[in-house]
């Protein structure tokens, strides 16, 4: 039957349409209609995405076979049947199935005009890889049309749908939808309401476009477009220079990474035979025995440059905290749930390249894993030093992104992607919660001006708590499962374990819990320290929070480990449906390890507890002493408690928060940030020198100089024209003598 899998291009198209509609009609239609258009469009996308996902699941359950399979594989590799008999076989094979009836379904003339390389390779590669993977090969659905042609090559644009894509589609559209709804209240009466919604739509469109691209070039397009939207939305309130600076910083830092991306795309293109940007084609090449590993290594490193900037990995993460200058819903959508994971998605998508290129599992070079691990621990430490709620969340995001990258780095593909999935929901929930809080407290995010909000805003409080626990990784919330898989992956590794990464992971597990606890208590407990009386936000805001909270609770079970002997339809569904089985390296799947789960949970709880006690104490030594004076009986007990306090506070928490975090933060602000800003400053200086020193003086000087010289020589020659006729005669005769002399005696 005609499936949506072949027509996913509709989904971003819808959003693009809504973008144009809002951009050009928004002002006239007014705010309500604007939001309406946006929400309607996203809902439509959500429906489509869910259908797509459903059909993918169906496809996995009833995988294509025989010729259908072959033709799908050929298309996946960006190949089409060329010789007549092949076409022949295509036709009688592809009955009413996807085949090319669907390709024709696309707006433009399609597959017919695609590049041809021998399709023998396709079938062999198919044979090669169908055996691998946990279950039989289910090739992604790739539908392409010719995009442009250079030389003999036809470059195709197209859509690629597999589990990963479907998952991203659903995630993005859910969160985008909620953010759309949420913003109607949050942005009420904003100066640039329509622009805001226009950008939201554009962003959603680009993000969806990005995740369904069938080739790296297209991904590059989507990648840059989301960057553009992030620029526009961070700088949403550009009257304030601080914001526009943040926007610029974000864009430029990403641009630096993109440099790597562009070169990486180039290298992989040429490595894979300079015939196509097709993702699967490149993966195929990376996995093929004859692959040039050096090229792959360089290519992967360059690509990782892009990841580093986009997904806030060390050392290009500094733009992300500044990006909090944008409206909170934006932070939730772009800088927590979706855009920043584009980098992770890139690794997941081109996993073969990274796997082979960086020798994940085989070699001892754990570049990806290490960067991820370092980022996660660093981000966690930094989160302590923040008093701004959103900044805490921002650093937490960095830390979690590090987690995902680390997971992919240790070969735990499913774990990483699963964490991406779960993290999207609870982190979005946290951000939106924070937004709701600041909505209540006169748009401040300074936690020192909050506190005791649990009394005033119930829903926000509860949802925030749930999300916090999820993030902290308390069983059985979503975060627990994904985090635990990652740890397991690090512990069991591929050919050998990644102990260092495991340690990183565990430390982070503790820190995450701790700083989230800190944020939670500072915000919702104690006395309200701000001014005015906070109030619960309206339904438009709370309902999305609830939805997200529920997701944060439930989605963990999507990948219930086989360890709990639940029926097979319930376990490892995520892995089963999302993990690619085509052009995908053979990765080990970590087993669920109870002791690890326990340890991590304990650490998380400990972290929460530490935070709890520490901030209890901070709240009122005065009250304590009161009780000291009054209740002598419980003195020892209190004292003991005090000991505990000291223990937790001065040793654990303080050491974590104090020197370490401060040092890290200092390093971050002064060194890393310094480098970024310094770089720009230096560039400006250099540019000044180049322009004034070189261009105007030397290059231009030479030009004007020649002019001057000729003028002067003219002036000099002029003086020989004295007006004395006999001198003229003399000159004449001198000329005669000299010339005659030379010609007679020399020549």
């Amino acid at each position: 039957m005609p499936t949506l899998l072949d027509k996913v291009w509709i989904i971003p198209a819808v959003m693009a349409a809504s973008f144009l509609l809002i951009l050009f009609l928004g002002k006239r239609l007014g705010t309500k209609a604007t939001a309406g258009i946006g929400i309607a469009a996203v809902s439509l996308c959500l429906v489509f995405s869910v259908i797509t996902a459903g059909q993918w699941i169906n496809r996995v359950n009833h995988p294509p076979t025989g010729e259908a399979l072959a033709s799908d594989i050929r298309q996946a590799n960006g190949l089409t049947p060329q010789t007549p008999e092949e076409i022949e076989s295509e036709i009688n094979s592809a009955t009413k199935d996807s085949g090319e009836t669907v390709g024709a379904g696309d707006a433009q003339p399609s597959s017919e005009s695609q590049a041809a390389t021998e399709s023998g390779a396709a079938t062999t590669s198919e044979g090669g890889h169908s055996s691998e993977g946990s279950h039989e090969t289910v090739p992604p659905v790739v539908r392409t049309v010719t995009w442009f042609e250079i030389g003999p090559i036809h470059f195709e644009a197209g859509t690629l749908v597999d589990g990963l894509t479907a998952m991203m589609l659903v995630t993005v559209s859910i969160i985008s939808l909620l953010v759309h709804i949420y913003s109607t209240e949050y942005l009420r009466g904003d100066v640039r309401y329509t622009h805001y919604y226009a950008f939201l739509s554009l962003f959603t469109a680009s993000m969806l476009f990005y995740v369904m691209s069938s080739n790296t070039l297209q991904m590059l397009v989507g990648w840059e477009l989301v960057g553009l939207c992030s620029f526009g939305l961070i700088g949403h309130w550009w009257e304030d220079k601080k914001n526009s600076d943040a926007a610029l910083k974000a864009f430029l830092t990403n641009r630096v990474g993109d440099m790597g991306l562009i070169i990486g795309v180039t290298i992989t293109f040429f490595a894979a035979g300079a015939t196509s940007f097709n993702v699967l084609h490149i993966n195929e090449y990376a996995l093929s025995p004859g692959a040039n590993t050096t090229l792959l290594l360089v290519g992967a490193l360059c690509l990782f440059g892009g990841v580093t900037s986009k997904s806030g990995q060390f050392p290009l993460h500094t733009w992300l905290p500044d990006a909090m200058a944008g409206p909170t819903p934006v932070s939730a959508l772009i800088h927590a749930a979706t855009m920043v994971v584009a980098g992770v998605y890139l690794i997941a998508r081109l996993y073969a390249v990274f796997f082979e290129g960086l020798g994940i599992g085989s070699s001892s070079l754990h570049y990806v894993a290490f960067i991820g691990g370092f980022t996660t621990i660093m981000g966690g430490a930094l989160a302590f030093a923040q008093t701004d709620l959103k900044k805490v969340l921002a650093y937490s995001t960095i830390s979690q992104l590090g987690y995902m990258v680390m997971a992919l780095g240790v070969g735990a593909w499913t774990a990483g992607v699963f964490h991406l999935f779960t993290h999207a929901f609870f982190k979005a929930c946290l951000f939106l919660g924070a937004g709701s809080v600041s909505h209540a407290c006169h748009h401040t995010f300074d936690m020192r001006e909050m506190g005791g909000l649990r009394k005033h805003m119930k829903s926000t409080h509860i949802t925030f708590l749930i999300a916090t626990l999820a993030l902290a990784g308390i069983a059985p919330l979503a975060g627990f499962w994904s985090k635990d898989e990652i740890l397991a992956g690090a512990q069991q590794g591929q050919e050998h374990a990644y102990t260092l990464m495991l340690v990183f992971g565990l430390i982070t597990a503790f820190m995450t819990a701790a700083y989230m606890g800190r944020a939670y208590w500072m915000t919702f407990w104690g006395e309200y320290r701000g001014h005015g009386t906070p109030h619960e936000s309206p339904k438009v805001i709370t309902i999305p929070l609830w939805i997200l909270a529920i997701c944060a609770v439930l989605f963990g079970f999507l990948n219930l480990p086989a360890f709990f002997n639940a029926p097979s339809w319930a376990t490892t569904r995520f892995e089963h449906f999302v993990e690619p089985t085509f052009a995908f390296p053979a990765v080990e799947h970590p087993e669920f390890t109870p002791w690890l789960a326990v340890v991590s949970t304990i650490l998380a709880v400990a972290g929460l507890a530490a935070a709890y006690l520490y901030y209890e104490r901070n709240k009122g030594p005065h009250g304590l002493t009161q009780r000291n004076r009054l209740a002598k009986g419980g003195y020892t007990f209190l004292e003991n408690k005090y000991y505990l306090d000291t223990l937790y506070t001065d040793i654990i928490a303080a050491d974590t928060k104090g020197p370490l975090a401060r040092a890290a933060y200092w390093f971050n602000q002064n060194v890393l940030d310094g480098i970024i800003d310094g770089a720009s400053a230096v560039t400006k200086k250099v540019s000044g020198v180049v322009y004034h020193g070189v261009d105007q003086m030397v290059v231009d000087g030479v030009v004007n100089g020649t002019g001057l010289v000729s003028e002067e020589s003219g002036q000099f020659l002029r003086r020989m024209q004295t007006g004395k006729v006999q001198q003229y005669a003399a000159i004449l005769f001198a000329g005669v003598v000299v010339l005659a002399g030379v010609l007679v005696f020399v020549v």
Binding site: R718, Q721, T722, G723, K724, V725, Q726, A729, A730, F733
Partner: protein, 104 residues
């Protein structure tokens, strides 16, 4: 026949003429110096003419040329003197150095 001494004479006259043209301040004398050069030319022509006539009686072009030169020279000097006269009328001087309104 020997021709060199004629040529020497011509050359010397030529040099004297050039010298006069270059250093004499009095325009009339400058004109006369030019005449000297022309006479040098004539001597050359006549001498050569005689030389070639000796070998080939029909060859008279040397002499003819000389005649032309003399005639034209006369015309030239006529014009020249007229110009000098005009200069003298306009500025009561025939010093070549005074004539330098136009320069640069």
């Amino acid at each position: 026949m020997l021709i060199n001494q004629f040529l020497f004479l011509g050359a010397i006259l030529f040099c004297i003429g050039v010298y006069g043209v270059l250093v004499r301040r009095n325009l009339v004398l400058v004109l006369m110096s030019i005449e000297l050069i022309l006479n040098a030319v004539n001597i050359n022509l006549v001498a050569f003419g005689a030389m070639w006539h000796a070998t080939d009686p029909a060859n008279l072009s040397g002499q003819v040329f000389a005649l032309f030169v003399i005639a034209v020279a006369a015309a030239e000097v006529g014009v020249g003197l007229a110009l000098v006269l005009m200069i003298f009328r306009n500025r009561q001087s025939i010093d070549a150095d005074d004539v330098d309104l136009l320069k640069g």
